[in-house]
Symmetry: C2
Subunit: 207 residues, 2 copies
């Protein structure tokens, strides 16, 4: 790992848990074991470091859903199942960073970053829209509101993992319960979301 990457990794960690303005460049430098000046040397400014963080994460993000559209082996609803599993997997494996992006989006600061961020978050939106649209066109799916159906899937997964406190309160769990990386919860969420979509999308429920 290059020193540049070391800084980015520390920035991801600290921005994720304490927010952008809640993290000082000295915090980052200390965590990375690097002189403070190196941050401006490599990135120019704290804000540009943030941009680099976003770019860095985006570079690991493949568009997994584009090949799904023309997949002939899977039925329409199986494609939806696959998508749900992927979204849950991704959210559970990287919830803290997802929070960082959503926090940034809801702020009225750094507008140029917000476009890049929403691009990352919704990278796969068009293929998924197409899958639902195809299902409707071929008569397998009900004529639903495509965009809002998608919002439901993403929103359900996202909201459950908003924070441990929220998750505990919703599920009626004790304070110790930690939702992130909880395999049982992951399974439960998957089952619920798939069942919900089958019930809502499918015309013929006998499948």
């Amino acid at each position: 790992m290059t020193k540049r990457e070391t800084i980015i990794v520390s920035a991801i960690k600290l921005f994720s848990s304490k927010g952008f303005e809640g993290t000082s460049v000295r915090d980052i430098a200390a965590d990375a074991g690097v002189n403070v000046a190196m941050i401006n040397y490599y990135f120019g400014s704290k804000e540009k470091l943030f941009e680099s963080v976003v770019e860095y994460k985006a570079s690991f993000l493949r568009g997994v859903f584009s090949e799904l559209v023309n997949n002939k082996k899977l039925s329409h609803i199986e494609k939806i199942d696959f998508m749900i599993d992927q979204l849950i997997e991704r959210k559970f494996s990287d919830a803290k960073f997802s929070h960082l992006l959503h926090r940034e989006l809801s702020l009225e600061l750094r507008p140029q970053l917000r476009n890049a961020i929403s691009g990352i978050l919704l990278k796969n939106i068009d293929p998924v829209k197409t899958i639902i649209k195809d299902g409707i066109k071929t008569g397998v799916f009900q004529p639903v509101d495509i965009e809002l159906t998608l919002t439901t899937v993403i929103g359900t997964i996202h909201y459950l993992l908003t924070s441990d406190t929220i998750c505990q309160k919703i599920l009626g769990k004790k304070e110790g319960f930690s939702p992130f990386q909880n395999k049982q919860l992951k399974k439960r969420l998957g089952e619920h979301t798939k069942k919900l979509m089958r019930s809502y999308l499918l015309k013929n429920k006998k499948h």
Copy 2:
């Protein structure tokens, strides 16, 4: 409005749009037309001002759903409809403040505030759980995962209004489109969510 309230109102506005650490006490004082020292005079510290903001907002929040449980005039699904309308109404009328609370929840700072906040956000959760539970017990509703069904409703409404950029990208709208206080979108979201819940909850769909 007392001077204390003036400060709180300015704090709500600025914390909502720029975040807690992104807002300085001088920003707040200037917006409220008040000397900087008055903030510490009235509230003790910036952090305690934040607590007062949360308390202030909570004091306006009535528990609208508790009386709904024992309402005999409405059917089970009509109660769900009512709840959805209420949640949408509330979210659209106060989206920015809701964002502030969710940002704070997802940060690993100020843990004592997070409990108060999740309490506010999920004030009505128990009555709503009861309504779904009753529907299942009387055989009108399918035996669904109650907590996650609730998460779906809240999550759908919440996610659509995460930010204008996200909403634009999901709906395929131009940059100018502003979702907040958009009556058409409000109606569309209500129809989608109610249709979804009827499809998922009701055993006998002929209603």
